[in-house]
Amino acid sequence: MTVLTPIALNTLDQAKWAFSTRRVSRQDAVCMLDMLSYATSGDLVLGRVERIGSHKKIQLAAGRASELYVGDLVVLACGDRYAPDQFEGLAELDPEGADMLAGGGVLGRMRHRHAKMSAPTRIIPLGLLANSAGKAINLADYALEKVARPDGLKVIGVVGASMNSGKTTAVAGLAHGLSRAGHQVAAIKATGTGAFGDFNAFVDTGARYVADFTDAGMVSTYRQPLLRIETGLDTLLAHAKRDGCDVAVVELADGVFQKETADLLKKPQVRDGFAGIVFAAPDALAAAGGCSALRALGVEPAALTGMVSCSPLGAAEAEAATGVQVVTRGTLCDPAQANALLAQMLAKHGRHALQVSEVGVAA
């Protein structure tokens, strides 16, 4: 039997609401459900910090990090997480204690952790937050209105070899360079785990519109249906267009072998929606491997960037191995060079579209 417990006045005001919950209207949470084992990805959980582990801070909805203390009340979203150099975990809640999988506010059950990581911070789930109808509150309830992919928006994709390969730096650099060149730019993170680091990095660029998958109602895209992720991307692009943007720079998280990223790139309607793809790699070997993987998917990278671009020798090796130009962060931030890179992509994309069209006619 489901037990609905009214929330005592001001209890939630004392809680630390994680960044992943930033779109939620807090006054809607008026009671708690005890059905923790039925929690699904995106459900909001009120919890109490039992033990401080790997995450010593929580990223608040207000955009700053807050020190965690044992006994703190926190509001997080139940979710999966995929992070090869941190945790991998599932959207499952144990009433005896759950794992804080990401500082941006993801709670679940850890399955794997990187050797460098200590145990996750433990949270005792007190209940699922519910509305006045007794329904569990989910991030999806507060998502942007679903809209089809817009026409006329130039979209640049940024993918990488792995976490921390330089994708966010590349998106930020391009967003800044293109904004300075007079474009109305959207910086979007289409996949990954809800956190404010990348979001804030995008805001700092001066981009006109910044959004991530949490704005499309997902705390994490790991293990989400591909159609939902694709629809989320289309929605974010459409809202960017509505906001007046003419260019969008889109980051796909993790490496090209990550399932959701790979599956997205395999879909022609997603892949061909990008005017060009920039690949971020830590070194020349990763650049060569990444280019091969992308080419196998039918994607020709427009440029390489990331840590490999910091090393002139590494960049030369990468260019020799792939035939793809390596661009530094400085290049991406330069308005004229970012503009030229966009123009190069559009010219090639136009030729590609023409070739596809010609094949269709011939067939």
């Binding site: 007079g182 004229a336 503009n339 030229a340 010219a347």
Partner: protein, 297 residues
């Protein structure tokens, strides 16, 4: 006796225009002269007017001020001073003149001088060199381009940059291909090319070499003709209906004031229709080129 097309005194309309000097706000920043009309409406597209190597930013703002007042449009005349910007005409040679102009435009947007997403751009002599190269780099920013009496040009051909768009060795080596990437969008800008009828002899300020003379000709009139034809050909090769027009200004040599007073340059830069580039411009055909008659205007 010359018959002025633009009688400056007579053409000042009832609306007032304020001429302002704005000092540079920082080490690598640009000063500028502004002509701000009293009847400027929100969202009005400004005109950025770039001086030649005499650094006559104030003169440009002053001589274009009557048209600014008539049309209710602000004039922004950046000042690339001789000490800090010896090669501003080439835009990306040495200190980046394009970045300095972008920063100035950002500052002026914050100050409320302009609010539109793009602007019209014109340049005279060295300023015309700057203007066409800037527009090649940022075609999405420039809604209309007037290139007046440039000494030489960057052609849409395979000559080494800055004469053409081919790669060269050295620091500026990659700029040609970068510009080439956006050439199609550049060719979609309405472009007005102007040169004085008597600006047909090379002077000490005209760049001369066997290479440039062969590619562009020896004087500004020949070079303007060849550039306009090259742009038209490049547009045609891409299937574009380009709006490129060459106007030869009668009774004018290489002098900005003469070009305004006797050649009607101010009306070519700022036509009555608000800059839609249709009153004076039409689809360019190599012959006959337009020679403005003083009496016509």
């Amino acid at each position: 006796m010359l018959n002025p097309v633009s009688d400056l005194t007579a053409s000042v309309p009832s609306e007032t225009v304020t001429l302002l000097y704005r000092p540079a706000k920082g080490k690598d920043a640009l000063a500028c002269w502004l002509a701000i009309p009293s009847n400027m409406s929100a969202g009005t597209s400004p005109l950025v007017a770039v001086h030649g190597i005499r650094r006559g930013a104030k003169q440009q703002a002053e001589l274009l001020a009557p048209r600014a007042a008539a049309l209710g449009r602000p004039i922004i005349a950046p000042l690339f001073d001789k000490v800090n910007w010896p090669a501003y005409q080439q835009v990306v040679r040495g200190k980046r003149a394009d970045l300095a102009l972008l920063d100035l435009m950002t500052d002026l947007r914050l100050a409320g001088t302009w609010q539109s997403r793009s602007f019209e751009l014109c340049g005279y002599s060295g300023g015309a060199q700057f203007a066409h190269r800037f527009a090649m780099l940022y075609p999405q920013l420039v809604t209309r381009l007037t290139v007046a009496s440039a000494g030489w040009y960057t052609f849409p051909d395979n000559a080494a940059f800055p004469y053409g768009l081919n790669e060269t060795s050295g620091k500026a080596g990659h700029w040609g291909p970068r510009i080439a990437a956006g050439l199609q969008q550049f060719l979609e800008i309405p472009i007005q090319i102007c040169v004085g009828e008597e600006d047909c002899v090379s002077d000490p300020n005209t760049r001369q070499s066997a290479e440039i003379d062969q590619q562009q000709g020896v004087d500004r009139v020949t070079r303007a003709r060849r550039w306009s034809m090259a742009l038209q050909q490049a547009a045609s090769d891409r299937g574009l209906q380009a709006e490129i027009k060459l106007s030869i200004l009668p009774d004018c040599g290489h002098d900005f004031q003469d070009c305004v007073q006797y050649g009607g340059l101010d009306r070519l830069i700022l036509p009555d229709n608000g800059g839609a580039a249709s009153e004076h411009s039409q689809l360019y055909h190599p012959q006959p080129e337009t020679v403005l008659s003083a009496k016509q205007s």
